[in-house]
C-alpha cells in the first residue's frame, strides 16, 4: 500500500463508506416508497464507489477509477429502467407504496 | 441377453399404452407371451446372459453390468413366473393399464435382480417403486396409501443411494456384485446401515413395516401377487449379494439389532395375523412373519441357513403369489375380503377351495411342499450358527402360522354355508391356468429342493 495515504486516513474512508452503505441498506429496509428505495440503492452503490476511489489512490491502481466509472454508468442504466418500471406500476394502480403492492406475498 | 430381459417387458408395457383404453384380450395375450418369453429366455441362454458397458469412470468405476448367475437366476425365474401368472389372472375393465404396469414392474425388477453393479442395483431399486405407486393411485381406496408406500420405500432408496456413493468412493468401484472382498474401514458400519435401512424397509422388518399391510390390501390382486412374492425379496436379495459378501464384519456389529428386529417381526406378524379378519391382511402379516425368518437366516451368516433362505425366498414367492391370486378370485366372487362374512365355500366351488388349501398348507409349512423345506434348512442353519434361543423363538411363529392359516381355511371353505351368499361359479380354465404353475412349482420344490440348492451352490 502506498505510503502517501496513511492507514489512518484510509480507515476513515472505509468507515465513511460503510456508514453510507448501511444508511442505504436501512433506507431499503425501512422506507416503503420505491423512489426512496431506489435512492437508497444508489447510496449503497456510491458507497462502494467511494471505496473504490480511496483504494485506487492507496494502491496507485487505476483499476479502481475505471471500476467507479463503470458503476456510475451501470447505475444510470439501472435508474432509467427502475424509474420506467415505477412509472408502469404507478400507472396501473395510482400509488407507489410497496406495502400496497402485495398481490403476491413472499 | 440380460438387457433383453429388462428392456423387453418395459418396451412391451409402454407399447400396450398405445392400445385403446378398454382393450382386454390383446393386452392379456401379448402380456402373458412376453412374460412367458422372459421365463424361457434365462433357461436357454448361455453364460448368464452377461452384458456390460462402462457407465462411470469417475469418481468410482461403474458399469451397466447385468447377468443372471447363482441366486439371481432363481429370482429371475420366480419373477417371470409370478408375472406370467399375474397377467393371466388379470381380469378387469382396465386390463390394458394393469398389464402394462405389471410388465414395467417386471422389467424394473429384472434389472434389479440381474444387476452386477451396485449403482445399477440402486437405479432399479427406485425405479421399481413407480409401477406399484401408480397402481395404488389408480386402484387404491385410500389416497394416503400410495404416498406412504412411496415415501417409506423412497427413503430407503435414498439411504441406499448415499451408501452406494460412499461405497463407490471408498472402494473405487461399484461393479462388484458377484465378487467377494471384505470392505473395511471406519465408514463401513455406516455404509452397512445405509444399505440395511433400505433393505429393511423393503422386506419389511418391524417397525418399518407400516406401509406394507395397507399397500398389500389395496393393490389389485395381480399386482400384490408380484409385489409380495418378488418385490419384497429385493431387500433379502440385497442382504445376500451386497451385505454378506462386502460388509460381513459390519453386519456382525449390527447383528444384535437385526436379530432382535427379525424376531420381533416374526412374532408380531404372526400374532397380528391371528387377529385380522381381512383375508389379504392375514396373508400380508403372515408375510411379515415369514420374511423375518429369512432375515434371521441371513444375519446368522451360516452357509446352510443362507441356502435355506434362498429356498424359502422362492417358496414364499410361490405360495404368497398363489394365495393372493386365489384371494383375489374370492374377492371378485364374493365382493368382500372379510372372513366373517364368508363360510362353507368349499362345498360350492371345490376346485377353487382345493387350490386355496394347497397354497395355505404350503404357507404353514406342511412337509412335501416348498415352505417346509425352506423352514427346516433355515432352522438347522441358524441353530448350527449358535443361535440357540433365536432358533427356538423362531419355532413359535411357525406354530402360530398353522393356527392362522387353518383359521383362514376354516372360516372360508369349511363351516356352515352362510345363507346370504349366492351361488358362484367355480375356478374357470383361465383362472386355473394362472394358479396351476405356482402350485406345481410349490410341489416340485417341496419334493425335490435339491434342484434349487444345487443351482445355488455355484
Amino acid at each position: 500500500m502506498h505510503a502517501d495515504l496513511l492507514p489512518v486516513a484510509l480507515a476513515n474512508y472505509v468507515a465513511l463508506s460503510s456508514v453510507i452503505f448501511f444508511i442505504g441498506v436501512a433506507g431499503v429496509v425501512l422506507r416503503r416508497n420505491p423512489l426512496i428505495m431506489l435512492m437508497s440503492i444508489e447510496l449503497m452503490w456510491n458507497a462502494a464507489n467511494l471505496l473504490f476511489l480511496a483504494f485506487a489512490r492507496a494502491w496507485l491502481n487505476n483499476a479502481g477509477h475505471i471500476f467507479a466509472f463503470l458503476v456510475i454508468t451501470v447505475a444510470a442504466a439501472e435508474a432509467a429502467i427502475g424509474l420506467a418500471i415505477v412509472v408502469i406500476v404507478f400507472r396501473s394502480r395510482a400509488n407507489v407504496d410497496v406495502d400496497e403492492i402485495a398481490l403476491m406475498k413472499g | 441377453m440380460a438387457l433383453v430381459l429388462i428392456l423387453l417387458p418395459i418396451a412391451a408395457g409402454c407399447a400396450l399404452f398405445l392400445l385403446p383404453r378398454g382393450e382386454r384380450t390383446i393386452s392379456r395375450l401379448a402380456g402373458s407371451a412376453v412374460a412367458a418369453l422372459t421365463f424361457v429366455l434365462p433357461l436357454v441362454a448361455q453364460n448368464g446372459g452377461e452384458f456390460s458397458v462402462r457407465w462411470l469412470s469417475r469418481p468410482f468405476t461403474a458399469a451397466l453390468h447385468f447377468a443372471w448367475t447363482g441366486p439371481s437366476l432363481w429370482l429371475v425365474l420366480l419373477l417371470a413366473l409370478c408375472t406370467y401368472c399375474a397377467i393371466v389372472a388379470t381380469n378387469t375393465a382396465q386390463n390394458r393399464s394393469m398389464i402394462a404396469l405389471l410388465l414395467m414392474l417386471e422389467g424394473c425388477m429384472m434389472g434389479l435382480f440381474t444387476a452386477r453393479d451396485i449403482l445399477a442395483f440402486a437405479l432399479f431399486w427406485d425405479l421399481m417403486l413407480i409401477p406399484p405407486f401408480f397402481a395404488l393411485i389408480e386402484w387404491g381406496t385410500h389416497r394416503d396409501t400410495a404416498w406412504r408406500f412411496l415415501i417409506y420405500n423412497f427413503s430407503g432408496g435414498l439411504t441406499l443411494l448415499l451408501a452406494t456413493a460412499a461405497f463407490g468412493v471408498l472402494s473405487g468401484s461399484t461393479d462388484v456384485i458377484g465378487s467377494t472382498h471384505q470392505f473395511a474401514g471406519s465408514w463401513a458400519p455406516w455404509i452397512f446401515a445405509g444399505f440395511a435401512f433400505a433393505f429393511a424397509v423393503k422386506t419389511p422388518l418391524w417397525p418399518l413395516h407400516t406401509w406394507m399391510p395397507n399397500t398389500y390390501a389395496e393393490l389389485p390382486p395381480p399386482f400384490v401377487a408380484v409385489v409380495s412374492a418378488v418385490q419384497s425379496k429385493a431387500g433379502l436379495y440385497g442382504f445376500i449379494v451386497i451385505a454378506l459378501p462386502f460388509l460381513r464384519t459390519s453386519m456382525a456389529e449390527w447383528r444384535w439389532l437385526i436379530v432382535a428386529l427379525a424376531l420381533v417381526s416374526l412374532l408380531y406378524g404372526a400374532f397380528v395375523a391371528l387377529t385380522q379378519t381381512d383375508m389379504k391382511r392375514i396373508v400380508a402379516y403372515s408375510s411379515l412373519s415369514h420374511l423375518g425368518l429369512i432375515v434371521l437366516a441371513i444375519v446368522s451368516a451360516n452357509p446352510i441357513a443362507i441356502k435355506g433362505a434362498l429356498v424359502y425366498i422362492v417358496a414364499h414367492g410361490l405360495f404368497s403369489a398363489a394365495l393372493f391370486l386365489i384371494l383375489g378370485y374370492y374377492e371378485e366372487r364374493e365382493e368382500t375380503r372379510s372372513v366373517l362374512k364368508l363360510g362353507g365355500l368349499g362345498a360350492v366351488n371345490p376346485k377353487l377351495a382345493g387350490a386355496f388349501t394347497i397354497a395355505a398348507l404350503a404357507a404353514l409349512g406342511l412337509p412335501g411342499l416348498a415352505g417346509f423345506a425352506g423352514e427346516l434348512v433355515i432352522l438347522t442353519g441358524v441353530f448350527r450358527a449358535g443361535y440357540f434361543w433365536p432358533a427356538l423363538i423362531a419355532l413359535i411363529p411357525i406354530v402360530i402360522a398353522s393356527a392362522y392359516m387353518l383359521r383362514l381355511l376354516q372360516d372360508t371353505i369349511n363351516g356352515p354355508q352362510l345363507a346370504d351368499i349366492p351361488q358362484r361359479r367355480d375356478l374357470t380354465f383361465a383362472e386355473a391356468l394362472a394358479v396351476a404353475p405356482l402350485l406345481a412349482a410349490l410341489l416340485y420344490v417341496g419334493i425335490y429342493p435339491h434342484a434349487l440348492l444345487a443351482a445355488v451352490m455355484h
Binding site: 500500500m1 452503490w45 463503470l70 458503476v71 420506467a84 406500476v89 | 449403482l119 423412497f154 460412499a166
Partner: protein, 472 residues
C-alpha cells in the same frame, strides 16, 4: 503482459458479440418491417442468433486463452457454461410461441438476447469488473422482461426484482470494493496471494461478496425474491431466469471459490447456507399452490445441491456441479414447457389445480409432466438421479458428509411436494379440471428434447474434462 487488445481477445468474446449484436438485428428488422415484424420472424432470428453463438462458442472448447488481461477467461468451464446458457435461452425463447403480445416480441427477443449475453459474460468473467458488468447486463434486461406481460402481477414482480436484486448488487459491489482494497487488484487471481488471511478487509469483502452471490443464487435465507418474481413474471421469462441466473452466478461463485486458498474458511458459512436451502427450500415447496412458486422453491433447493457439489473445491466437484446444472436445465425447462402447453395468455396452467385429472384428459402430457417431476425428485432413470449420486460422491469424497446427509433429507422432503402434483394428475376420484386446448408445437418440441436429454445424460454421463476454473 501486453496491454493492448489483440485479435485473439475479440475472438474470445465473439459468441457474446453475436448474441448481443443479434439483438440489434432483431430490433432493426422490427423497425424496417411495415408495422411490426411477425412473431415468428423475431423468434426465428433470435433462435438463429443463439444457435450461431452456441456453435461459435463450441469451437473454442478446449482452447485456453486469457482475454483482456484476465477480464475474460476462455478455457476451463467457461464454454460449458456458455453452452448451457445458450441452450436454455433457446428453450425459453421457444416457449414464447404462445405468450406475449405480437408487437412486443421483437423487444422481448432482444432483451432476452442481451440477458443471455450478460450471463455468457459471467461464465467467462475472471475479474471483478467483468463479473459486475455481466451480472448487471443479465439483471437489467431481466427486470424489463419480468414486466412485459399486461398483468399487475408481472409489473409488480419487475419492481420487486429490481429493488431486491439491486440491493444484492449493492452488497456484491461493496464486497468487491473491499476485496479490491485487500488485494490492490481487481483480478480474482490476486485472491490467491498469501497473507491475505490476516487482512480484515479480505474477510469483510468476501462476506459481502458472498451475500450478493447467495442472493443471486436464491439460497436461503436470501431467496425471498424468487417465489414472488417467478410467480409474477411471464412464464417463459421465469423458465429463462430459473436456469440462466443460476448458471451465470454459479460460474462466478466457482471461479471465486476455486481462487481462494484451498479450504478457504470463508466458504464454510456459504456451504451451511446451501444445506439450509436444501432443507428449507424443499419444506417451503410443500405449502405452494402455484406451480411457478413450487418450482421457485425447488430451484432454491437445487441451487443448494449444486453449491454442495463445489464443497471442498475439488476438480470432480466442479464437473458434477456442471452435470447437475445441465440436468436441472433439462428437467426444469421440460416442466416449464409442459406448463406452457397447458397455459393460455393468463397462465392458467401455472396453478397446481389445473393439473387435476390431467392423466385422463391428456395422458401423454401428464406422463411427460410426471417424468419431469420424478426427475426433479431424483428418481431414475433420469439425470436427476445420477446427478444426485455424483454430488453425493463428490461431497463424501471432499469430507463434507454432513452436506450429503442434508441432501438426502431434503430430497425425501421434496418428494411430497412433487407427489401432490402427481396424485392430482392421476387421482381417479377427481373430476378433470377444464383447460385450454392450446397448440404449441415449439413447446412440445422443447419438452421432447428435454425428456430425451434427461434420459440420455443418465446413461452417457459425459462430464467435460478440463473444467477447472482457471484464474490466472
Amino acid at each position: 503482459m501486453p496491454n493492448f487488445i489483440t485479435h485473439q481477445d475479440w475472438l474470445a468474446i465473439t459468441p457474446l458479440l453475436i448474441a448481443g449484436g443479434g439483438a440489434l438485428i432483431v430490433l432493426l428488422v422490427d423497425l424496417l418491417w411495415p408495422k411490426h415484424s411477425p412473431r415468428a420472424v423475431s423468434l426465428a432470428i433470435g433462435i438463429g442468433v443463439l444457435l450461431a453463438a452456441g456453435a461459435f462458442a463450441a469451437t473454442t472448447y478446449g482452447r485456453s486463452y486469457n482475454a483482456f488481461n484476465g477480464g475474460f477467461m476462455l478455457g476451463g468451464f467457461a464454454v460449458v457454461f456458455q453452452e448451457i446458457i445458450v441452450l436454455s435461452a433457446i428453450l425459453s425463447l421457444s416457449l414464447f410461441g404462445t405468450f406475449g403480445r405480437d408487437d412486443r416480441m421483437a423487444g422481448i427477443t432482444a432483451l432476452l438476447l442481451w440477458s443471455t449475453t450478460g450471463a455468457m459474460l459471467m461464465a467467462g468473467a475472471a475479474n471483478l469488473m467483468t463479473i459486475f458488468l455481466g451480472l448487471e447486463l443479465l439483471s437489467l434486461a431481466l427486470y424489463c422482461l419480468c414486466g412485459v406481460a399486461d398483468r399487475a402481477a408481472s409489473q409488480e414482480s419487475a419492481l420487486k426484482y429490481l429493488i431486491l436484486s439491486s440491493t444484492a448488487s449493492g452488497f456484491l459491489l461493496f464486497g468487491m470494493a473491499l476485496l479490491f482494497g485487500a488485494t490492490g487488484s481487481v483480478t480474482l487471481a490476486s485472491l490467491m496471494l498469501p497473507g491475505l488471511a490476516a487482512n480484515p478487509l479480505y474477510w469483510m469483502g468476501g462476506g459481502f461478496f458472498l451475500v450478493g452471490i447467495a442472493f443471486k443464487l436464491s439460497l436461503m435465507p436470501f431467496h425471498v425474491w424468487s417465489p414472488d418474481v417467478y410467480e409474477g413474471a411471464p412464464l417463459p421469462v421465469t423458465a429463462f431466469m430459473s436456469v440462466v441466473t443460476k448458471a451465470g452466478t454459479l460460474a462466478v461463485f466457482a471461479r471465486f471459490a476455486y481462487a481462494l486458498p484451498a479450504g478457504g474458511k470463508l466458504l464454510l458459512p456459504f456451504f451451511v447456507i446451501a444445506g439450509v436451502s436444501m432443507i428449507g427450500g424443499n419444506l417451503a415447496m410443500l405449502a405452494q399452490t402455484d406451480l411457478k412458486r413450487l418450482l421457485a422453491y425447488s430451484g432454491v433447493a437445487q441451487a443448494g445441491y449444486m453449491v454442495a457439489a463445489l464443497a471442498g473445491a475439488s476438480a470432480l466437484g466442479m464437473r458434477y456441479a456442471i452435470y447437475y446444472l445441465a440436468a436441472y436445465m433439462f428437467m426444469n425447462l421440460g416442466a416449464f414447457a409442459i406448463v406452457a402447453v397447458l397455459s393460455g395468455e393468463r397462465e392458467e396452467g401455472a396453478q397446481i389445480a389445473a393439473f387435476r385429472g390431467l392423466g385422463q384428459r391428456r395422458p401423454w402430457l401428464a406422463a411427460a409432466m410426471s417424468f419431469f417431476l420424478l426427475a426433479l425428485a431424483g428418481f431414475p432413470p433420469t439425470a436427476g438421479f445420477l446427478g444426485k449420486i455424483l454430488i453425493l460422491a463428490a461431497t463424501v469424497n471432499a469430507g463434507y458428509a454432513w452436506l450429503a446427509a442434508l441432501l438426502i433429507a431434503g430430497t425425501a422432503i421434496s418428494l411430497y411436494a412433487y407427489f401432490k402434483v402427481l396424485r392430482l394428475m392421476y387421482d381417479p376420484h377427481d373430476q378433470p379440471a377444464p383447460g385450454p386446448r392450446t397448440s404449441a408445437p415449439l413447446a412440445y418440441a422443447g419438452a421432447a428434447l428435454c425428456a430425451a436429454f434427461v434420459i440420455i445424460m443418465t446413461f452417457y454421463p459425459l462430464t467435460p474434462s478440463n473444467v477447472l476454473p482457471l484464474v490466472k
